[in-house]
Point group: C2
Chain length 276, copies 2
């Protein structure tokens, strides 16, 4: 091997995958190599910058644990998560639109009775009744739909961001034959994504604010339908036009209206699932 | 925000960096976003594949510790490290060519007297005398050049890959006024890059072998000269044409000749540094 020219190097790396027996993996990795190499050439990456990138990615991996996913946060803040969303969810007809999963989803949230309060430990925050129904594209209620719900508290933190908080501000509800759901919580607030890790530091170095507009997270799933990962955003929030993760879609913004008592709110939203 | 089209999303993420006060960071991150987004669109990345990528990168970061750098291994095996090398080190005149650093360099190797044996604990392996001189582009010897040397042992492992091995098979030597160096070691052998981590598993899934041709690592540095990160490869090695990290250059292949006694070898190589 005399030495690889830049072009020859890219092709040599791709040719080395010739014996890969997984055509899809081969396709993705070949495209990854082409883009990585093209990126380095385009910006004429220096060795010091390469090493900074190595250190950044290492720190991002090491910030992850069973309660925090810093690589998802990186994907979210670089708009990659919403790009994957856009690629996989073309604008539906009447179906509810999807948005990012985010880094704070946890498997195994408690199954609560319809109507339960998912924020029993919240200090402050406006009591809010969230309700609506789950239906299919033709308006039929979906029985047995599972709503996995999670949100940040009035202090802007998810349970997993607080030491020893246990499961809080998250639950699962299952619809009956009428497809209806309702639960109590506190009105979500806008909050900064974590800035104590490499991704938050990246945002600050890029001159970007780390805030997300107030939202409730949902994964709504039911047999025979595509699982729906989405948010409900609070109308009027100051960060709707500059979400740090680019996740806002108009159809997901909900008017949180005054509730039964002063200081309380209601949020009504009907989810429409797409047939699988 | 109605919802971002795919094109609009990429531009929105880049526009969000408008207030970044570091033009170089902005340039690199904008190009990174463009290539990441283009990659996802080109292969129509599914959500499941995106999540596999998140898990792979997380595992890669978590495999790193003070003795192992799995992200460098990833960069090496995808040819990115050699691309950065090619971009930053155009073919020199008489100067020694560079190649990858690799994941096993450790700061603070012991300073040994010229002539010392860097492999006192090696079991088996052919005794080898490595010698030569360090000179500048016009042939003048470089006094006070530091040679940081490291290699795998006869079993194919670096010290840091073995529990409690301590510093072994690595040392630093400083040239005198004649620019000459020599030390004793064992002849390097070809070996597989670690396959117990995510990157090794990736190679196997891609149908790639994990072997590197036998080599000695050097970083040669001296005031007034560019530091040189390179290898000396063993002529005749079966993996010279298929190095798992694409690091071989013809000019770095050395004929390890028979030494003073049967079973011993000599490796002679003169390093030529580039003026800083």
């Amino acid at each position: 091997m005399a030495r690889f020219s830049e072009d020859a190097l890219t092709e040599a790396v791709i040719a080395r995958m010739d014996k890969c027996d997984n055509p899809r993996l081969k396709q993705i990795m070949a495209a990854t190599v082409r883009h990585l190499h093209a990126l380095a050439r385009e910006v004429k990456l220096t060795e010091a910058e390469w090493f900074q990138a190595i250190q950044f990615l290492t720190a991002t991996g090491q910030k992850c644990d069973d309660k925090r996913q810093e690589f998802i946060l990186l994907s979210d803040t670089l708009g990659l998560s919403m790009m994957v969303d856009a690629i996989n969810h073309a604008r539906p007809g009447s179906e509810t639109e999807s948005t990012v999963l985010g880094p704070f989803f946890v498997e195994g949230a408690p199954d609560l009775e319809m109507g339960a309060n998912i924020a029993p430990h919240a200090k402050g925050g406006a009591p809010t009744l969230v309700s609506g129904k789950v239906s299919d594209g033709s308006g039929r209620p979906v029985a047995g739909a599972l709503l996995d719900v999670w949100q940040a508290g009035p202090d802007g933190f998810y349970d997993v961001q607080k030491p020893d908080a246990g499961m809080d501000l998250r639950a699962r509800f299952r619809t009956g034959t009428d497809g209806k759901y309702h639960f109590r919580t506190v009105k979500p607030v806008s909050y900064p994504v974590p800035t104590d890790g490499p991704v938050g530091q990246m945002l600050l170095k890029l001159g970007r604010h780390p805030y997300r507009p107030a939202h409730l997270h949902f994964i709504v799933s039911a047999p025979g339908h595509e699982p729906l990962t989405t948010h409900l955003f609070v109308k009027g929030d100051g960060y709707l036009d500059s979400d740090a993760v680019f996740g806002v879609k108009d159809s997901l913004i909900v008017d949180f209206k005054p509730g039964a008592k002063p200081g309380e709110f209601t949020c009504e939203y009907d989810f429409v699932l797409k047939a699988a």
